[in-house]
Symmetry: C2
């Protein structure tokens, strides 16, 4: 199998960190997003949605989007479990992972793609062009700021984002923090719980993935 990737992009980083935590190595192909390679005919045959990550299986099936690719690897390599061991853990981790994705990751993406010159007319990933909406960039930034505070609050009650164990929810939240740099949003220094967790995350080998 082959993982279509782009080293500077936060979405495929979610998969790279997940694989590093699993101890799984996969052949990767860099798709040069900044040169528009994802819009070219060759890559559109792999993923008509024109985004990475995309995982091509040996039978030609292509899985797109970080959560779907992670789900595949969770089933293929159950140890260590990163999506919960029992029904309750699975539900809680799914909830917190989605929370970080929708309220963190997607908020930063709204802020970036609706303001940066390089995403003009590409305010959304996908087959179709969409114009930027300045008010949505502003809302995204506000939501990202709220997310950082809410994450700090969560980490004041729980060691890891998804509960007592490290999980995919930590990966999504951690990649979101890195993504914040692309909109020049810094983590406020008074968020002590977030800092404790971020230091622990940064010390994991997967942080370099």
């Amino acid at each position: 199998m082959k993982l279509y990737d782009f080293a500077l992009s936060p979405s495929p980083r979610r998969v790279r960190m997940f694989l590093a935590e699993k101890g799984v190595t996969v052949e990767t192909v860099q798709v040069q997003l900044r040169e528009g390679e994802n819009h070219g005919e060759a890559f559109r045959k792999v993923n008509p949605g024109r985004f990475v990550p995309a995982l091509e299986l040996d039978d030609g099936t292509v899985l797109c989007e970080a959560p779907a690719i992670c789900r595949y690897f969770e089933a293929l390599h159950p140890d260590p479990p990163l999506m919960g061991r029992d029904p309750k853990e699975q539900g809680e981790i799914a909830m917190w992972e989605r929370w970080a994705d929708v309220n963190g990751f997607m908020a930063v993406a709204d802020a970036l793609r609706n303001s940066a010159e390089r995403f003009k007319d590409r305010a959304l990933v996908g087959k179709v062009d969409h114009a930027q909406i300045p008010a949505l960039a502003e809302r995204g930034r506000t939501r990202a700021e709220h997310f950082l505070h809410d994450l700090d609050e969560r980490l004041g009650k729980s060691e890891w984002v998804g509960g007592a164990a490290f999980s995919v929810a930590d990966i999504t939240a951690f990649v979101t923090i890195g993504f914040c740099a692309m909109i020049e949003l810094e983590v406020p220094g008074n968020l002590k719980n977030l800092k404790r967790w971020h230091d622990a995350m940064s010390a994991r080998p997967s942080a370099n993935a």
Copy 2:
């Protein structure tokens, strides 16, 4: 356990259909969203995000959001499987469920919540108020139209949304079609594949959930 629900709302309907397909019955509590009961102190203790569905477990844990609640029940009651049997099926269903959620369900929500008078200053679900963005309502409607065509194309290649078997991806897409009525968006009559599938979905007992 108790499922906090609102009969007229599409998000909890995703859970109700999922439970009907599993043959599982859960005690439900109606939260009167149109009367603002979700903003009241009592419900905010259950879910500070102020939305349904929310599932309260017997130990007091609350799981929020349809995908997380469905994941919990998938683990608790694996038969019939609605999220795939093997790694590849699990990955494909996760991909198509997310596709329907982000490009269908969330697009309709953008269109509705950024235009309807009753969602003034509540353009997003959550603890924080957000003003409506008219351009986002318009974009949501355009995306919902694209979603219907893309769904028709997908169903020209696959019997069910997620592949050869009925799955949670069908539920999300089907609930999205119903949700389209709230923005007065009708399915174009020439989408024959979508019609074939929608007729099959409507004939399932879970369609009444």
